[in-house]
Amino acid sequence: MRDIWQRLPTRGKTFCLAALAAAIAAPLVADRYLLSVLILVFYFAYLGQAWNLLMGFAGQLSLGHALYLGLGAYTATALWTLFGIGPWIGVFIAIPVAAAAGMIVGWLGWRFAIEGVYFALLTIAFAEFTRIGFDHLQITGASAGLFLSVNSPGSDKWWNLGGGPLLYYYLALILAAAATLLVAWLRRSPLGYRWLAVREDPEAAQAAGIDIFRAKMIAMLISASMTAVGGVFYGFYYRNLFPSQVFDIGRSIEIIMAPIIGGLGTVFGPIVGAILLTPLGESLTALMQHFGINTPGAKSIFYGLTLMVIITLQPSGVWPWLARKLGLDRPRA
């Protein structure tokens, strides 16, 4: 850990500390709306880190992370609503459930040498398969949804992940910060090096003694587990779940936007991406309203155009470019 810190250039250290301090202090000055936006920023930064681990570091494209998000969310909320098992315990059941799903996807994909686009489509297929499955799973309310009450005993207590925006704000902040630390640490760990090798050249990695299947499976394990924790947060933040919402391919796409736009395979990319994209959407809404434009869809058009422009101009993401500009760059990890 200390190693990571020492490796940062001085400007980077200042920058990190300042950003963290600002984030911790934000509720003092920010209003509730800004907080709710920041909650989303951290939430997407966190999920982006989880996905980035698999794609950015281990080089495996998953377009079905909604699967792990949904399984995490459903497991924890169902444990709470059906058996009164709180989320702090439930999360430790949600993680293995999602991780097991990840293992199945990974095992099927990598054992049978399915790669690139084909692997991506396999992940979509699993997510969609599960979505329809949950549409018929009566115990979690099937397609009619699973609901968490707000006034059952203890449901408003922090130990049951209930409460005001500050709880969710700091929780999301802690998740995002912890995920970033974890990713930074993993990046400098033997495991991280193995992933990079697998991403760069699987055959050469194998020749260097790396069991690439195992390396990919571990990446999937961690990524799916992290995503499941994000799912638990989602479930308790929104307090209702519908298969068509959480397992939707749109969710998966949402998760991967921030890291790609921010900078794939970088530690700060997912954060930068989330900081850009979520407020971009919100600002567009606000701007539209400000100028009295009430044309449904117009905002999304601008959003889509922005994505196209960014990926055309900065294919490796905004962060590497930004880091260069701010003098914070080290060679891309």
Partner: protein
């Protein structure tokens, strides 16, 4: 050099960012003791619920003038929640920051519950215009009222209407099949059917309940399955686009039931349904809450609507428009009685609502302790000359019901 293209736009990006940040941070506008009630209307105007959301939105657009004429002072902020709970949640926060005293929305259950979280914490009342998931009023939200029937209530009233239709037309169906979309609304109705049909005493047998995937691309297999069962009545819960596919395949497969009746779901009377099916759209029946043609409020609303939205027909839109309007009127009424925009007091006034004159049929609007209005009866609405027409109950009907429906062949 490779960064040059970006340099060009940096300034504009910066400008956009600053403008965005300024808007994000816009401080809450003075709130207390306002002369008008500021209501934020959150609807899914884009995304997968756009069709219904935009229909509700048209209702919200004409409401302020009508309400002003009725003596209610409201000011509306229209927000597109994009069929996305994330957006619903942040935009609710923003709307309240910018001075909204009350929220109306949001057609979709997931979005509604995302809004409910915020409203509960900020003690700002949420009036659900449309949203049938029974759980909305079962989760213990203290700042939520719903002037819309639950899935179970819709089915219960719908089954009553079917009995009334059988009585009125003297048909004697022996069998029926229930087809429903397997989404949250459809499944809520299915649960209602499973619970209520056996107790309803209806004189026919329910052969099977068939769920279909609302994302499926065609319904020909479903129709073939139904044709194999050959029921007298086809009871359906569909979305508009699916209803078109359903009727088309039914006609193509030359299957001729006595009637296609929805026991409590919209879907058989949208404008796109008429446009797609023409004469074949006629004689299908929806049993659901409807605008009361005899009510003065409804008449005023219709007049205003017809003027403001010449491209749309009030008769077709009155379900979405009417419920959205009523939700706004409930808010305006509570404000009038409370005399303040203060959330808890407004909420107290809302709970004490006893609104006699409103757009949709039914008695005075009242809420139980959970915030549910339990008195929202259904009417039987039959498509006649490609217009939804109330045929039952008799006191609000403008035509008499026709069953069995005329055969597909030879319709003009």
């Amino acid at each position: 050099m490779p960064n040059d293209p970006f340099k060009f736009s940096r300034r504009s990006v910066l400008a956009g960012g600053v403008a965005g940040a300024a808007l994000l941070a816009a401080p809450g506008i003075v709130r207390a003791q306002a002369q008008t009630l500021k209501i934020a209307v959150l609807l899914p105007q884009s995304g997968y619920l756009a069709q219904a959301g935009q229909s509700c939105h048209r209702g919200a657009l004409v409401a302020p003038q009508v309400l002003a004429d009725l003596g209610y002072k409201v000011e509306l902020v229209h927000i597109d929640m994009e069929s996305n709970p994330d957006v619903a949640r942040t935009q609710t926060e923003r709307a309240i920051n910018e001075g909204a005293h009350c929220i109306v929305g949001a057609f979709d259950s997931a979005g509604t519950l995302a809004i409910a979280q915020v409203c509960e914490q900020r003690q700002v009342p949420l009036i659900v215009n449309i949203g049938a998931a029974p759980q909305l009023t079962e989760q213990g939200y203290k700042f939520l009222v719903r002037n819309f029937p639950t899935g179970g209530m819709l089915v219960k009233n719908g089954l009553h209407q079917i009995q009334a239709l059988i009585d009125a037309t003297k048909i004697a169906p022996k069998t029926a099949v229930f087809l429903h979309a397997n989404d949250n609304f459809g499944l809520a109705q299915r649960k209602g059917m499973d619970a209520l049909f056996p107790k309803s005493g209806l004189p026919f047998k329910l052969l099977e309940s068939i769920p279909y995937d609302p994302k499926a691309q065609d319904l020909s297999v479903e129709v073939t399955k139904i044709r194999g069962l050959n029921p007298d009545l086809l009871l359906v819960v569909t979305r508009a686009a699916d209803a078109i596919k359903l009727v088309r395949d039914t006609v193509r497969q030359k299957f001729q039931p006595m009637g296609i009746i929805s026991p409590g779901a919209p879907g058989l009377y949208d404008e796109e349904f008429y446009k797609a099916l023409g004469p074949l759209a006629d004689y299908h029946i929806d049993a659901l809450p409807w605008a009361n043609p005899k009510s003065k409020v409804t008449q005023a609303l219709e007049a205003a609507y017809t003027k403001a939205q010449p491209k749309f027909r009030f008769a077709v839109e009155c379900f979405n428009v009417g419920f959205t309007f009523d939700a706004l009127m409930i808010a305006g009424d509570a404000f009038k009685r409370a005399g303040t925009t203060n959330g808890p007091e407004l909420m107290k006034a809302l709970k004490a609502t006893n609104l006699v004159d409103h757009a949709m049929i039914g008695g005075p609007i009242k809420f139980d302790e959970k915030g549910q209005n339990n008195d929202i009866p259904s009417a039987s609405v039959q498509n006649r000359n490609q217009t939804p027409t109330v045929v039952l109950p008799a006191e609000v009907a403008t035509m008499t019901p026709v069953l069995p429906m005329p055969p597909w062949q030879g319709r003009k």
